[in-house]
Amino acid sequence: MTDMKSSPAGRSGAAAPAPDPASAAPGQTATTDPLGAAPALAGRRRSEMLYFALRNPKVILGLSVIVAFLLFGLLGPLFSEFGPRERNAGPLGAAPSSDFWLGTTWTGQDVFTQLAHGTRATFQVALMAAAISAFIGMTMGFVAGYRGGRLDEILMMITNIVLVLPVFVVVIVVTAYLGISNTATQALVIGLFNWTWVARAVRAQTLSLRARDFVDLARLSGVRTLSIIRREIAPNMASYLVMTFILLFAGAIVFAATLDFLNLGPRGGMSLGLMLQQANQQAAMSLGLWWWFVFPGAAITAITGSAYLTNVGLDEVFNPKLREM
């Protein structure tokens, strides 16, 4: 059962605009037109793609920021002598200074340390959640698009049902009932509900790639279905899959931060959302401790914003029409 939102018309990428219910970026994939991009890709070697990618200022800027934050999350904690929740690390509620670069919280926790640990946890959750969403969404999309028929109908029915459900509310409810004890569970819950647009988009493209003769030829060569999807179809969508993953990653960051902010996240650790939650709960605004809530929010914004930027850049790389604009 196809519905027109994913019709194999030339604009199918554009017709699945809201990439991610939590990412708040409706037009993000609007111009991502992998079917249009495929022929462009066809004539180009991958190294050539990489060449363009590494010369696209958007990709460079976006990736640098993400990598910088990743490194900060990985290495930052090593440069701090404090624990993320350690009280009295410094004076109480101190403004940023040379000793405490990002200031301290109301109980004297070091904001820099919290930010480093929070960034690490946020990356962990987001990468795991994105991987889970990507796996489910792509599997559903590939299988539905490749096998077609009754299976396609059933899978798309499931997808459409989950698509219409207000995902965040569902996740909140599930979280509330189950209680989330660690980052892996949180990633799993986010991942489990955040794949629908991936499934639809991947299916639409699989559907169109599947109609190409080279797929039939692979079958005539005795290649099994799974290998055909993996070796013939997926590589043709590689650029799109990469971009999908980036969007999922950005979405999962916001998603996890929002859950943490509502105190529905894992207990005990530290994340960017939790920092915001604690700042809000401990009235950082009233106390005038702006550094407590400005930095974690800015970090989330910077990471997700950079992910979007990278995506736009990649879009230009894969879709030369855009590059000329």
């Binding site: 929740r85 109480l92 109980t107 004297g108 209680g179 809000n280 605004m285 009233s286 106390l287 005038g288």
Partner: protein, 597 residues
Amino acid sequence: MRQWRRFLVPLAGAGLVLAACTEDVTDDVADGENVDEAEDTDDADSANAGEFPRNETVYTGGAEWGTYEDWNPNTDGEATFVRGFLYETLFWFDPWEAELKPWLAESGEWIEEDVYEVALRDGITWHDGEQLTADDVKFTFDLRDVPGVEFPELDEWLDEVEVVDDLTVRFHFSDPRAGQWDNVLYDREIVPEHTWGEMDREEIPEASGEDITIGSGAYEYHSHDENRARYERYDDWWATEHLGLEMAARYVVDFRNESNEVAMSQILQNELDLSNFFLPGINQVPEFGESVHTFYSEEPYMLSANTASLIPNHDRSPTDDADLRRALAFSIDVDDIVDTGYQGIVEKADPTGMLPLWLDQGFRDDEVVEEHGFSYDPEEAERILDEAGYVDEDGDGWRETPDGEDMELDFIVPSGWTDWELAAEVIEENLHDVGVNVVLDFVDPGQELDPRRDSGDYDLVFDNQMLLQNHLFAQYFYLYELPVLDEQANRDNPHRVENEHAWELTQELARLGTPPTDDPDDDERFMEIVSELQEITLEDMVIIPLWYNGLWSQVNDSTWTNWPSDDPDTPNYYPTTWANEFMLGGLMTFTEIEPAG
């Protein structure tokens, strides 16, 4: 696109108007009758029924965490001000002097060993003009056997309520628990028989009471929605004539708030006059000392409302071992909790757990505390542990039990209660320092904490139900009440201690009035019992008192002044709106405030 614009712009506003309309409608449906009534009784100068002039209105908050749905004074959990403003009690309790003061009652005394006589004030009327008489008092107390009504056990020791005349009531007791009875006297609101009596007795606990908010108090019900309840002054209040008390505020609006930080911004922006929220950091905002005040202008800033303690489970190994409990008591650095967790807005608790009120009354047995008390001393803690056989044999850094088993204490902490989370983390560090492995188990406060505490599924837990009450018996009821049930749901004895002797003493204590009474023998016996209970409690280290949770109270004096404080020029009542503490001075607070400027 043009037509789009025409279509959209009004839509933006439409949502707001919709909100206004719908609210209006639900409000009419919910309490239309009462609004009409309020308008009827209004003087001609009542300009606008929907608006409360700022300078005639007191805004309060911090007492209501549910919703304003329970207008039934006969059950627990009523909406804020149902006790005190609408319905009143016979007495109120003044914690400064530790004595009951007459309220609806003119006087009350034990005329026989087991008979207590109350004389009501003359000329008290209900809001609808009916007289408040002894029959109303009898009606109120005769509800004691209805399941679900407050004081379910009163029936076990109060035999009969006798109406002598319109203004005199005698209570005949099978077991005259004087101390406990005082508690009932200032806690139980008298309700009018002519409204509540029309209901089937059995249905009374389930009634919302919203349609019969007729009390005797200083304020009448005005209206409410989920987030606020509004009260309007009752101008024929009896206390004006009898006690010369007047309520300066014509309206009182009480807010339910979602969170402390919201209350913080509201008190700073003069959107609350009296806030009974826990507002950590209130002593650090620029407004503090200017427009915003607490009871004390310096540490500890707050009066003490209850004792927060670490509760070890007596029903589980290894916390059933007094030596271990004692070692825990010595290893906890309460000052650290007070200084960093609370930034000095609470006070460290006395080892006996007694609230300052009782310390001031001289009930602390210093000798006992000297011998059995505790303070932060990790070395002593290690010594006790070593001696009791809690040593680290396998070298993993953690002590094992004397039986050689691994020891891991399960400490359940309500997640999201930041102050308790912090305190728990301090304790975790402290215990780790002496080699005791404790694991913080952050659980959902509503869903998991209460059931697990009540059923004894924990090793360690915080609790603060040792409350500010009229008599020390309450503290020892909390500590020793028997029998221990599968579900200790009434909040007493969550640590599941079984000490028959202590329980006997406690019950005996409840029969004695707080000294000084008219009977020196009783007073002597009272002191004996209290000393012995202190000794048992400390020796057995039943619970580990940590700090006094504050009677959180912050005021903004921009609109209303003369709030209670330790300044001799101001009243010194306990300024709280919490339902259980309101008759401890909260009500008196409102009789003292004055418009600013």
